[in-house]
Amino acid sequence: MMVVCEDLEGRKQMHELSLMENVVQILRTNAAENGIKKITRIQLVVGKMTMAVPDALQFAFEVFKEEKLFKDAVLEIKEEPVRGECKECRQTFEIKDFEFLCPFCSGPQVKLVGGRELYIEFYEGD
């Protein structure tokens, strides 16, 4: 699923593009601080609850490939499942299909403990 917000002039902007803008900005700053001129590999951790689609993130990343820093960069995306912890029986479990119900005691009070991850684990470069 990809959300496209179309404005009056028919330009398109998607969720993943604004997330990638943030990723790229962090990398630009950090690479400059570390004297890195070329990034070769980026590992991004993305929780399934963020609704960011890996394919769309890859697509969005292409936009930044014109930049010298990212020209040869490979973007790796590690998806994290949605995980919950039952507030009643304290069990933790994977949440499938966004069903926030404890599979052990059927309790409805489920705390989200995984799936909202959205961070750059590491990057490699020269």
Binding site: C5, D7, I26
Partner: protein
């Protein structure tokens, strides 16, 4: 080859500014509400009715997020409340950094409540903390029963869902009880209000909830 371990949250910058906004609202004792929805849910009409119900008793300000137009902002302004428009220039959500400078345009000494009308979209706004105290989603019965399960994050993050256009219920195949059950399964703490902005129906419990939150915010600092 150099490997740099970052473990940097992608939205860290946004979260930093959101914290600053939150501290600001705390200091001003103003309750800030982030109002969200998909396009065409009747969010602006819901906001207009809300303003009418609060007129004369609470002072509110509105931030209008829009991709390009000022149409919604003009509609809100005609109700005599201060409005600041933020054009996101194509972006599909507001972020904390857009809100911060807009706060300078209000006289907060005169405000009890700030409502931020986000850009119409159920995905992107959910991800960006603005520093608000609460989030409300307007969901219309014409959108179909599957919206909560398709976009769970926004409902997970919200405190309120206003189920709008209930006057159109006979013309849709929306099962209201099932819709509410799904919403509660995603977030059992949700406050659900059935409204019709067009017919101005069902607003009393929602307005009462809003007043209560404003009161809590105002007196939070005075209580020990």
């Amino acid at each position: 080859m150099v490997k740099v371990r970052l473990a940097t949250p992608v939205l860290q910058k946004n979260e930093e500014v959101a914290r600053e906004n939150r501290t600001f609202f705390q200091k001003q004792e103003v309750f800030a509400l982030n109002l969200m929805s998909s396009p065409g849910s009747g969010k602006t009409s819901t906001l207009e009715r809300t303003i009418e119900h609060l007129a004369g008793s609470l002072n509110l300000g509105v931030i209008e997020g829009d991709i390009y137009t000022t149409r919604d902002a003009e509609r809100i302004e005609s109700h005599g409340v201060p409005v600041v428009q933020i054009n996101t220039a194509g972006a599909c959500h507001l972020d904390a950094r857009m809100i911060k400078p807009a706060l300078e345009d209000f006289d907060f000494g005169k405000l009890d409540l700030l409502i931020i009308e986000n850009v119409g979209n159920l995905v992107c706004p959910a991800e960006f903390d603005l520093g608000e105290d609460a989030r409300a989603v307007v969901l219309s019965v014409t959108e179909g029963n599957d919206k909560p399960m398709k976009y769970p994050l926004i409902f997970r993050q919200a405190q309120v869902v206003l189920i709008n256009k209930t006057d159109l219920l006979p013309y849709t195949d929306c099962d209201l009880d099932l819709l509410e059950k799904d919403l509660k399964s995603i977030n059992p703490d949700l406050n659900l209000f059935r409204i019709s902005a067009r017919e101005n129906k069902g607003f009393t419990p929602w307005i009462a909830w809003l007043r209560e939150q404003v009161k809590i915010k105002k007196y939070a600092r005075e209580s020990p």
